[in-house]
Assembly symmetry: C2
Homo-oligomer: 620 residues x 2
Amino acid sequence: MRRSIATVSLSGTLEEKLRAAADAGFDGVEIFENDLIASPLRPRRVRDLAGSLGLGIDLYQPFRDFEGVDEARLERNLRRAEAKFALMVELGADTILVCSNAAPDAVDDDARSAAQLRRLAETAERFGVRVAYEALAWGGAVNRYAHSWRIVEMADHPSLGVCLDSFHILSRDDDPAGIRDIPGEKIFFLQLADAPRMAMDVLQWSRHYRCFPGQGGFDLTGFTDHVLAAGYTGPLSLEVFNDVFRASDARRTAADAMRSLTLLEDSLGRAPEGPRPTVELRRLPAPTRPSGYAFVEVAAEVESARRVRTILSALGFAHTHDHRSKPVQLWRHGDARLLLNSTDPRLGHTWDGPASVTALGVAVPDPEGAVDRAGRLLAPALPRRRDPAESDLHAVAAPDGTAVFFCAEGEGSPDWTADFSTPVGRDRVEGVAAGPVTIDHVGLFQPFDHFDEASLFYRSLFGLTPDENVEMAAPDGLVRSRALAGRDGGPRVVLNVSVLSRGARADAEGGAQHIALSCDDVFAAAEAMRAAGVDPLPIPDNYYDDLACRTDLRPDTRERMRENGVLYDRDDDGEFWHFYTATVDGRLFFEVVQRSGGYDGYGAANSAVRMAAQRAEAAR
Amino acid sequence: MRRSIATVSLSGTLEEKLRAAADAGFDGVEIFENDLIASPLRPRRVRDLAGSLGLGIDLYQPFRDFEGVDEARLERNLRRAEAKFALMVELGADTILVCSNAAPDAVDDDARSAAQLRRLAETAERFGVRVAYEALAWGGAVNRYAHSWRIVEMADHPSLGVCLDSFHILSRDDDPAGIRDIPGEKIFFLQLADAPRMAMDVLQWSRHYRCFPGQGGFDLTGFTDHVLAAGYTGPLSLEVFNDVFRASDARRTAADAMRSLTLLEDSLGRAPEGPRPTVELRRLPAPTRPSGYAFVEVAAEVESARRVRTILSALGFAHTHDHRSKPVQLWRHGDARLLLNSTDPRLGHTWDGPASVTALGVAVPDPEGAVDRAGRLLAPALPRRRDPAESDLHAVAAPDGTAVFFCAEGEGSPDWTADFSTPVGRDRVEGVAAGPVTIDHVGLFQPFDHFDEASLFYRSLFGLTPDENVEMAAPDGLVRSRALAGRDGGPRVVLNVSVLSRGARADAEGGAQHIALSCDDVFAAAEAMRAAGVDPLPIPDNYYDDLACRTDLRPDTRERMRENGVLYDRDDDGEFWHFYTATVDGRLFFEVVQRSGGYDGYGAANSAVRMAAQRAEAAR
């Protein structure tokens, strides 16, 4: 199917928007009128530029408050429309979006609106233009797609059809199944936007918080499937008003948009009824479901690496092997494997930033397939580590710059562990409770502009499912958090971002990162760590007093928690116990968690206490 | 009256919040439970610290979902409450806020809720604690203050009263006049918050967008007057949940909060019925209404100053005098006076930043009174320019750092113009249409954290009235704009801020500034400027094509506009014509406007076109 994007979804000048859309591989654009009006390029120049970039101009939009008006107004509106149709001929755009009248004085009279739209269509026909009529969710008289279709049917003109916009339909919880009853050739245009579920005025929601399909809470696959079932063969076009995208790098946003559409088109091909005969749906290689983290790599400068090693040892990790050719250590504990690197793997020189998570190794059944899929999803490939001494691992860059490696599960090939061929120690530290330790999740602070992009990145590459956003109050402002996890286990990742783009937290380089390890006895782990001379992050006594008020935890349990800095959460399915280590370089800390029952969260209720404790720690 | 602030209104740790509140002169605080739980200070230490800072702990808050529950739950809630009352004794807090039950399973049964709250009050009494029951706007059964009062009346216990929160009442458009019928001694606490008018879910609105009285759209004076009329004598306490304040410097926020309460208290004293006999209301010196700008000062480095002079000359300004002792030039045109300074007045050395507005001279009838008022409103006084050769002007720093000078109107004293005693030129440039030019408004980009503070600064010092916020789409993101103007003329100021705190616009140093001059023939002004060799900011032809579609402007008028880069706006009251100059140093530009009829806006509809044109200009 043809793929388009509205210029309003991207930042910059009209020319910059067109170039970004072309670079990301779009076939066409919707030109938002304000972008043209503010451009020094005359319409014919825009047409030429778009043509030279391989872009069609699929829609000119929007034309507002046309129908449901009195006669004098109709004549004025028709004159205005005629001028716009002439402009569209120059522009080479053959479809205009006409939004249902949202003015307070719009007349609710279907026959009148149909007659007026028919006049508009007759005028449009003379210019070779088609009119796509769309029900705005906040339209005065017409605000449901079924209503817009009734009026179009009544007007009965070949140059008049409907435009369907997923936001206007799904934001109102309208049932999209009725779209199947609209003849496909009368659906002139399809605009796609997702959005997080928000309790707010629909106009504000629409104009500020739309996002690309797969980034929000709407079922865009189901929606679009109805439209294809109706016989629609036009473009899949993204019309996304989003405050962050408006202010972000247009090329990155366009690539993010294309990733979204690629995933959507693939999911349509997998719909139960299979691909539509009328359209060709491009498919991706099947998603390869990761079973977990093969490793997590941490880079640190010399003194910080020493602090990390002290913590890891106290947590029961053992330094078992060294890399055969690089200053990278393999640390193991149960199934958890961490690489400790004191060289910047991207730059080849000694790491001089704060201790950081630099790479995630994800264990997948089919690394080649995963790489192929990632490439088609526009994940930026990283240079391969190809020298003969090393395994041939593929990696891509996540939106925050973290390298994501595709590793074979179990004994599969390529076997990255073969590079760590120099044994240096015992398999485990004596006297430390080991237990079956795994990497529970990795928490990564994201650059403000790329939070939704990061969510879609992990979702599209690995089939992880995002939770709802959670907001947490840090002493220096709100932090938004979104966890992603596989449906049947596999790696979990928690993305955090400053709600206001500001201060240290606004910058990925400055945001906190953590590695959470799961075990089946959080107290034993904490006590072993303390016995090894490493204290947990101190949690205020006031926290435990409050816990006494609101839970039935036994006093001796609370006392043991207090001694070990253990925090507690529960939900209907189970309980969660967790403690934190100190933070290295103000950036990287470790967490140890114990899940019981079906608890599936991350202890977000305790985050404010944790962040305040970290601030107190930093001030010491 | 006693003045308090909730710790949740400020950023930082509990200790930092207490210190900030004390520094701003508050008498007490409401301690938000989460702030205590996350604090390493035990309750008794908090009490001691607050006491040493001269702060009382006026409220402990909140206690949630207590009433309207089944018996088993009630017993658990009472145990929880008892633990909190014991904590309050340690803390030295004698009033607890109990919010109406917002849980979905809250039982709507007044008799039950009254009986349960009575049990709570009986328990509280044993600890010497009072219970203030508040109707949350989103309470399940109880969400109106009148309802909370009915239940309190029914419960009939001396340790139970109501807490009134302006947000919960005014956000629902509830009529506050009924408060007068509540006995004053049963109003245990008063929480004040303003908020901008927003169409959104009331809970989200409440938790993210509250602001200090005078910064939003609610009538806090009228509201509080009802509460005083009821006989309330407790604290005026600010409970403001605001995402920006949470992330801003706590001391500045606390000073902003105190300015807000000071203004509110003064306005209460001016209410028609006069001050209440039961409370003492502190008064401010009467506001002194400025008649306009005495001057605007621009600082620029040498080459930029040359460009500014070229523009000013072309606009008909004449360099009439030099300062007697400093490298500052006085430029005049009609009533408009600009000072051009190539020395940083604050630093005393040559200005090396981009050309900037550094000072506003505001003409007031009573400079001494204005200075006194500004001081009591915590406006930071700037060092006076006191050397014998100069007039004795007082100045304060606006939140963005701009110096605001209090000048005498007309021939009043001190006469700052006496310093400009060195005549250097003619009073006006020959051959240039002069017309009655005045300074229409000054537009200043604000630091992200201080937008609401700046609005309250100009409002409180000069009695300016803020317009509603307007949002404008720049090529690199949305910009929010708020204009302030006197009711009967006087200076206008337009404050702009990036909607997302990011990029150059997030930083006041990088944000655009402009000086708008009004005249009665914008075309003559533009043509004279062009004749003098200075081009206006070029406006795209596409803009004029669109104007042809949507207005009845005559073709020759449109052509003359196009030639001169003149933009157009209109409203029900009149028309607005305006053009822009080029931008100096990417920061400072001039605008020339012509208002006709009763048009009272600023051409915001054209801002997106202007900002795109400025971006194109910057790219050349």
